[in-house]
Symmetry: C2
Subunit: 160 residues, 2 copies
DNA sequence: TATTGTTATACTCTATAACTATA
DNA sequence: TATAGTTATAGAGTATAACAATA
């Protein structure tokens, strides 16, 4: 059978063909990077979803709430609540543009910008920790493949 | 700057260095495979977590509930509820072994085995769909890297 | 009529702590 | 005392549908 065996603290669990499932392996790998994120930000009350949103708003001031939701595959209903938290925290500002008064444009407050700046370096350092066990070349290769998997087909990505 | 731009339906969103974050890219990639799973099993009321659990129980009859939880990084409290659902559905059997009456051993019922067998082929076919946009060699490479990332360091994995 | 975002609802998942029953 | 699992609770994420305001 050649079945892969995962050994965790003395326990042997046969995962069978699961380890050939991209979905399953992506989940396992993500759990690990998630752990590393929380270990790095244990003191800071920073969560990956919220920080990612603030990061993107920082890079795209005035972005529409819907565009942000589609970019991150977050449902509009959830995005409303997430943004609400960030507005309550004083990090994000919402503005209704006169051109389309149905929509909402997002930008960071001074506090929001300071928050992103303050944690930027640590956030980038987490990337290094995430790659534990990989060589630099392997990490690059992995990012390239994930990029292709995530963007190919359902959208168009380009480097400028 | 060379910042990567993600274009979705006419919208240009600058993701900046996020695309160099393994955690972020793993999340984006996983969202996609998650979608594909649900598209494939739209009619069947099969969820990835539950199906994965049943798959592992099928391959490891008598596995302890705690070992299963640790393998999948699912918290014991949640595992209790997840198994409860599968027991209620008639797919999983719980047994308390006389050697250690604190623990619970899991196995599939006939219905559980039939259910896994019935969806096995489709589950494997999802893997192919997940790889859309990748060549076979790329998919293999990606799995290898994910395997290394997921297992290296926190546990020991071996092929037999 | 279609689109943007909100509200409401329900369920899953995550995290924690307190608890039981065994060891 | 420590371990295996359960119960309880709270919050976050996901999914859907109905809705208001605007286009």
């Amino acid at each position: 059978m050649n079945a892969p065996i995962l050994t965790i603290v003395e326990e042997r669990v046969d995962l069978g063909e699961l380890t050939r499932s991209l979905g399953f392996m992506l989940r396992l790998a993500q759990v690990r990077t998630y752990d590393q994120f929380f270990r790095a930000f244990a003191d800071a009350d920073v969560r990956p979803g919220e920080f990612t949103v603030m990061w993107i708003v920082a890079a795209n001031p005035g972005i529409r709430q819907g565009a942000l939701a589609r970019t991150l595959s977050i449902k509009p209903a959830h995005m409303t609540k997430l943004i609400e938290r960030l507005v309550r925290g004083g990090f994000v500002r919402r503005e209704v543009p006169p051109e389309d008064r149905r929509s909402v444009q997002l930008s960071l407050t001074d506090a929001g910008r300071a928050h992103v700046d303050h944690h930027r370096k640590r956030f980038l350092r987490v990337h290094a920790a995430e790659q534990a066990g990989l060589t630099g070349a392997e990490a690059d290769q992995l990012l390239k493949l994930l990029h292709k998997l995530a963007f190919e087909g359902l959208s168009h990505a380009a480097e400028h």
